[in-house]
């Protein structure tokens, strides 16, 4: 054992981190239960995490050293083992433990698309289809995927080129990817694992196109896994992350499937070719809409929380330069510039946790209505899922990168855990809908609602504020006034309305001056995106304020959450000053007050920074970071982990082959 391990051994907490925990102004455990939604949830979550982390099959210890092939194989092994584990532990898909399982595995497991496959059958399939396919899928007698995106088409679904032509004589659909850009590209689990997939294709009956519909297609043999006739499939090659997932390509050449394989809860092709629709066509996209919301917590918000935990703990341990001559080097967390990087990310992580709760409530309500064939809330659900998915994924991606860069050189080491968090989260800006396009969809909804609200018609609850256009100026007189939520919520509301109304007016002007509607829309898209973001930003701030008001005023929780809420709100104004100054709603002098209040808050929250990340309650194994562990023994761990690198365990073939001749000046023999 290395001599440095003595007296510095793992287990004892680095004094630099221990001291941070002694001064917490609130109860960390209490805040954890608030985040979990109650003590019972905390208990269940910890039990699941412990059971998973104790099991060596699920270990992520060597993850950073593995090749793509090794990662894929490990993910398949884990997915298979998980079935056994669930049985052993008595966990069920509909049980309270379920949502914590994938979180504990950090998504590092295969067959995630298998779940999407099942979900789309549950939502879009008829009762008979559900009865036929779901038991097979549950027992893993088949492995499913979800094939929507094509090489040439992504977010714009109407543009998909795969075709499904109904043949009345054989009662079959004939599927084709007629050209290279029509090839399915990207679907997870499809490159190597899947036996079946839900294929989205343009439906043709008697020469008429009915638009995009979902079909269940078998692609690999259930016996020996070889490709079925007419199928070409494989892995799409290395990506920035997701080495463990076999994202795949799929070509279909005259592949025939029975009529019953079209998912037909809402649309059906009858034996004679008659096309019947039940309900809105938009329902086909509902899987995607719910997916967007369900991914926010695990794929978008948790990575930001993890990155904050790593960066803030490390910043309390790392010392660099001197703040005061004669003293020891200061913790980098004491530098204002470091606080200004990290603490707004921390506040945002909390803000997003609460907005995620809000969205889940909205969706639970909407889902029930849709099951009862009431589709009236679909536009609002669609707009909310699009806008918040875009805003949160964009912000969290940037936030994780800020955390990465705030850790200096060591952040760049894979062993910090930050590069993997970053390369993974940044895919969320694109999958399940590219962010810019999603924001424009939200904007379209807002423009419609704005017109309705202006005409005095009823609008969905989340946008009723659009009817309340009030002129005026911000009434704040000093920097403390900006710690009053009424003041800043009003400022956000004002800005959101201003951006939307000025864009709506411009759109109107263009159309009246003779510009075609679609052309006018394209000319306003930059502003429309801005307006959609401002709307989501406003709702997030407002929801944070309302959440804080409802929190128990015990154990210091409400107070610290109020500080974070203030910081989140003021940071948003500080970083988008132009938007708030624009029509003079906030004056130049008031902006200086905001800046002063904002900078004061950094110093206040600094004291609780480490307890605030401790409250996220990540285990060391789930962080998988040499910089962010609970005990703060950063350097020791970094050194030990580096020893495990394969580059240090095997003699490099490069030495004998190239370096030796080079060093001995025998270059000509190479």
């Amino acid at each position: 054992q290395d001599k440095y391990a003595q007296g510095f051994g793992l287990g004892s907490v680095n004094p630099d981190l221990a001291s941070e925990r002694q001064t917490a102004s609130f109860s960390v455990e209490r805040l954890t239960t608030v985040l979990d939604g109650g003590a019972e949830h905390t208990r269940v979550r910890r039990a699941v995490v412990e059971a998973i982390e104790r099991d060596p099959v699920f270990s992520r210890e060597n993850q950073y050293f593995q090749t793509q092939n090794e990662r894929y194989e490990a993910a398949v092994r884990k997915a298979v083992h998980l079935q056994k584990k669930m049985h052993e532990m008595g966990w069920r898909e509909d049980g309270p433990e379920f949502i914590y399982i994938y979180r504990a595995l950090a998504g590092d497991v295969a067959f995630l698309l298998h779940r999407v496959f099942m979900r789309s059958i549950s939502v879009l399939g008829s009762d008979e289809q559900v009865a036929k396919w779901i038991p097979l899928a549950t027992k893993h007698q088949l492995i499913g995927s979800y094939a929507q995106t094509e090489l040439g088409h992504g977010t714009y679904l109407q543009g998909l080129e795969t075709t499904a032509v109904f043949d009345t004589t054989t009662q079959e659909f004939i599927l084709n990817t007629p050209k290279i850009s029509a090839m399915k590209w990207w679907p997870g689990d499809m490159g190597r694992s899947a036996t079946h997939t839900v294929v989205f294709a343009q439906l043709y009956v008697h020469g008429k196109c009915y638009g995009v519909h979902p079909f269940i297609v078998q692609i690999r043999s259930l016996r020996d896994h070889s490709l079925c006739p007419g199928i070409t499939a494989g892995d799409i090659g290395p990506k920035m992350n997701f080495e463990h997932i076999d994202n795949g390509y799929l070509m279909l050449q005259n592949v025939r499937i029975p009529r019953e394989n079209m998912l037909n809860k809402f649309c059906e092709v009858q034996p004679d070719g008659t096309y019947v629709r039940r309900g809105s066509q938009k329902i086909n996209y509902f899987t995607m809409t719910t997916l967007r919301v369900s991914l926010l917590s695990d794929e978008v918000i948790l990575p930001l929380m993890k990155a904050c935990t790593i960066a803030i703990r490390y910043s309390a341990v790392r010392r660099q330069s001197k703040l005061n001559p004669g003293e020891e080097e200061a913790k980098i967390l004491d530098y204002q510039t470091q606080q200004e990087k990290l603490l707004p990310q921390l506040a945002a992580a909390y803000a997003f946790h609460f907005i995620n709760n809000y969205l889940h409530k909205l969706f639970d309500r909407g889902y029930k209505e849709i099951q009862e064939r009431n589709f009236s809330s679909l536009p609002e659900l669609h707009a909310s899922s699009s806008g918040f998915k875009a805003m949160l994924s964009q912000y969290c991606t940037a936030g994780v990168e800020i955390c990465l860069r705030a850790c200096g050189g060591h952040g760049y080491s894979l062993l910090s855990g930050l590069p993997s968090l970053y390369t993974k989260i940044l895919a969320s800006c694109i999958y399940e809908g590219e962010n810019t396009i999603l924001l424009l969809q939200t904007a379209r909804f807002l423009i419609k609602c704005f017109a309705a609200a202006s005409a005095g018609q009823p609008v969905p609850q989340s946008v009723t504020y659009l009817a309340a256009v009030k002129p005026g100026k911000c009434p704040a007189k000093n920097k403390l006034d900006f710690l009053n939520p009424d003041i800043y919520v009003e400022a956000y509301q004002h800005t959101a309305i201003r951006l939307l109304s000025s864009t709506a007016a411009k759109l109107q002007d263009l159309i009246q001056s003779g510009v075609k509607k679609h052309e006018a829309w394209n000319q306003c898209t930059v502003q429309l995106v801005q307006a959609a973001k401002a709307h989501c930003h406003y709702i997030t701030v407002k929801n944070f304020v309302e959440t804080v008001e409802k929190l128990e005023n015990k154990a210091g929780i409400q107070k610290i959450m109020k500080h974070l809420c203030d910081l989140y709100a003021l940071h948003g104004i500080f970083s988008n000053a132009g938007l708030f100054l624009h029509d003079g709603y906030i004056s130049g002098a008031q902006m200086d007050m905001i800046t002063a209040s904002y900078l004061d808050l950094l110093g206040v929250i600094r004291k609780d920074a480490v307890p605030l990340v401790d409250a996220f309650d990540f285990t060391d194994k789930s962080l998988n970071s040499a910089l962010g562990s609970y005990d703060g023994n950063v350097y020791q761990r970094l050194y030990e982990w580096a020893q495990k690198s394969p580059t240090n365990q095997q003699i490099s073939p490069a030495y004998e082959k190239y370096l030796r001749p080079l060093l001995h000046n025998k270059l000509s023999k190479l």
């Binding site: 050293f65 793509q68 194989e73 298979v80 893993h140 090489l151 992504g154 714009y156 109407q158 543009g159 290279i180 090839m183 190597r192 259930l222 020996d224 896994h225 494989g234 892995d235 090659g237 290395p238 990506k239 390509y249 660099q320 080097e329 004491d334 204002q336 470091q338 860069r405 050189g409 080491s413 894979l414 062993l415 390369t423 694109i430 810019t436 679609h518 394209n522 000319q523 898209t525 930059v526 000053a577 132009g578 624009h582 029509d583 003079g584 130049g588 902006m591 350097y635 050194y639 690198s645 580059t647 240090n648 095997q650 490099s652 490069a654 082959k657 190239y658 001749p661 060093l663 270059l667």
Partner: protein, 624 residues
């Protein structure tokens, strides 16, 4: 073409290789490169640079530190006797060296380094030690597996006193066997975000002895009895830093240009959705939102290109002065390059990501080439001086200049705008009431607007600092409490410098058509910067609400004006396909066919049925 067509330099697509394989390929190519440089008789540094950049296609390689730091340091800091002993063996690669400065616990703040070199007059040796875990040398390139020597920076102790940081030549591996020497622990620091082909290493020394003559003694010296002789000036070390930071500015321009080339070409090939009902899907480059993402970045790439060239020229000019002993311009250049290094690397870093995201899902595939550009470029925000610290260095210079002006002196160079502030102070009116009549289509007038913004924010930061100083006794504490403002001040100063240099460049372009398109890009860069930072301009009373609305409108008009030239503007960067390394950014635009070809080569596709089917899937299906 000498390199691109050479079969010896061909190899499998790096994206499909493991880290060990990539390291091996890089070593193989470096060895060959050295041999061919000798064979062709190439010795000019500029030519070597180009040759190298084609062999490694702009990627890092294990000999970078040997060629870029070890040899130059020997040339500048070694005595003639040391050069005799080390330079030729190093030139012939019998000695491969690296430069070991950064430690696990210490980076940008050099005075905090903990490695010690204690002089023992009895044996005339230095005893080198890494006394703590945090003092282990960590990160130096080529240290992990390749080098057999290192220049080590350590705190020098002689006659019981610490004399600060000095450089020592330390052998670390046995010549012949390449095994670490007794007392040396050395290895690779493990996988990183990028730099797969580089063996960044660690180095721990336990009572490791080297002869007295191994301290680099051209400037400071330790005599046999342990007497320490001080160097003449310590400002000289600035020169190397300025030089390396100026290279990073150029690298920011190049990396962003590459990402723009890929994203813009691909956006011309990709069709999506509909603009006009019933018409075929348009090129995504026709969407305003796509133009708004990419064209300001294109303009930025050009702006940074001119800034990089400016710094290089200025550095060359000033180096001449330095050799003649004139150091007067060095502080400003040092301060300016620190800030510009930070400004350009931050902006390019974010811009590369924006380009990647503008390519949608395919940008995320390694075949796009942008992930690779990003991971290779992003550490430049940290190395050679962490960016925030760099910004604060520039701020220190700005505050110093401001205080000089306040004390009645005049300042020169890029900060001369501060001179105007003192004149305005005579008039009693509030700063915000100052009226600058800005013409938004005139680049020269816009430079004035940026200048006014810089003056306002430098003044605000300096005043806030003064207010903090009046409140508390510790200067350092006051500085820390103002540092967010100070970083902002540096940023706007750099932004001003860039706008100014870009605008000044326009008049030097003789070809009218080129000048016209460059003027459009310059306007876009400048107006986009105003639009994004509208708060600053409004708050300082430089522009009114109505003018900001005009600026926003004008930006969108410029997007449409630049659109027809967009592809030509990236073609002008003249990146060869092999250098670009991107399926999406191919010159011929045959994207989809080639993506399919590329994917077929993926390691997961080596067999039709993956072995994990037999190992895991099949048994599971049998059991359930």
């Amino acid at each position: 073409a000498l390199v691109i067509n050479d079969p010896d330099f061909q190899h499998e697509d790096l994206n499909f290789l493991s880290r060990s394989q990539r390291y091996e390929q890089a070593i193989r190519k470096s060895s060959l490169m050295v041999m061919k440089l000798r064979e062709y008789g190439i010795a000019d540094p500029e030519e070597i640079y180009w040759f190298k950049s084609f062999v490694h296609r702009g990627r890092p390689e294990p000999l970078d530190l040997h060629l870029g730091m070890f040899l130059p340091t020997l040339l500048t800091q070694a005595t003639p006797e040391q050069q005799d002993r080390f330079f030729m063996p190093a030139w012939n690669l019998e000695i491969i060296g690296t430069y070991a400065q950064t430690e696990m616990g210490h980076g940008t703040h050099l005075r905090g380094l903990e490695t010690t070199a204690t002089y023992d007059p009895a044996t005339q040796e230095f005893i080198l030690n890494s006394p703590t875990v945090t003092s282990i040398k960590w990160w130096p390139g080529g240290l992990g597996k390749t080098s057999n020597h290192a220049i080590v920076l350590a705190q020098l102790y002689t006659q019981g006193q610490c004399k600060g940081l000095h450089a020592f030549i330390v052998p670390i591996r046995q010549l012949g066997t390449h095994e670490p020497l007794p007392g040396i622990t050395v290895g690779d620091i493990g996988p990183k975000f990028g730099y797969d082909e580089m063996d960044n290493g660690y180095l721990k020394m336990d009572n490791f002895r080297i002869p007295r003559e191994n301290m680099l003694m051209k400037y400071a010296q330790v005599e046999p009895d342990g007497t320490y002789v001080k160097p003449l000036s310590d400002k000289l070390t600035y020169g190397t830093m300025v030089f390396i930071r100026s290279l990073i500015v150029g690298d920011s321009a190049r990396s962003l240009s590459r990402a723009c080339t890929i994203a813009i070409r691909y956006s011309a090939v990709r069709h999506q959705s509909e603009l006009k009902p019933g018409e075929p899907e348009p090129q995504i480059l026709d969407y305003q939102t796509q133009q708004y993402k990419l064209f300001p970045l294109l303009a930025t790439a050009y702006a940074f290109h001119f800034v990089g060239a400016y710094i290089k020229d200025t550095y060359r000019r000033i180096s001449g002065d330095i050799n003649e002993g004139d150091l007067s311009e060095l502080p400003e250049l040092h301060a300016l390059t620190a800030g510009l290094k930070a400004f350009t690397s931050w902006t390019a870093n974010a811009g590369i990501e924006e380009c990647r995201m503008a390519c949608g899902g395919h940008g995320y595939s390694r075949c796009s080439g942008i992930p690779d550009i990003y991971v290779t470029f992003t550490p430049s925000c940290t190395y050679e001086g962490e960016n925030t610290v760099m910004m604060l260095q520039t701020a220190r210079f700005l505050v110093k200049s401001y205080n000089q002006v306040a004390a009645g002196q005049r300042v020169s160079g890029m900060v001369s705008y501060l001179n105007d502030l003192s004149r305005q102070r005579i008039q009693p009116q509030h700063v915000a009431a100052r009226t600058v009549s800005v013409r938004i289509n005139d680049p020269v007038s816009l430079v004035e607007a940026y200048k006014a913004r810089a003056a306002r924010l430098v003044e605000a930061a300096a005043k806030n600092l003064q207010a903090e100083l009046n409140h508390r006794k510790s200067k350092e504490d006051a500085w820390n409490r103002t540092s967010v403002d100070l970083v902002r001040a540096s940023e706007v100063h750099c932004h001003y410098v860039i706008v100014k240099l870009f605008t000044a460049k326009l008049s030097e372009i003789s070809n009218a058509a080129v000048r016209a398109v460059m003027t459009e890009l310059c306007l876009l860069y400048t107006l986009y910067g105003i639009s994004k930072n509208a708060g600053d301009f409004m708050q300082a009373g430089i522009l009114t609400d109505a003018q900001i609305t005009q600026v926003n409108q004008r930006v969108k008009e410029l997007l449409a004006i630049i659109r027809p030239n967009a592809v030509a503007l990236v073609d002008s960067f003249d990146f060869h396909d092999t250098h670009l390394g991107s399926v999406l950014g191919r010159y011929d635009g045959n994207v989809y066919e080639n993506m399919f070809e590329w994917a077929k080569k993926s390691p997961l596709n080596k067999t039709e049925v993956h072995e994990s089917f037999h190992k895991h899937l099949k048994p599971m299906q049998a059991k359930l």
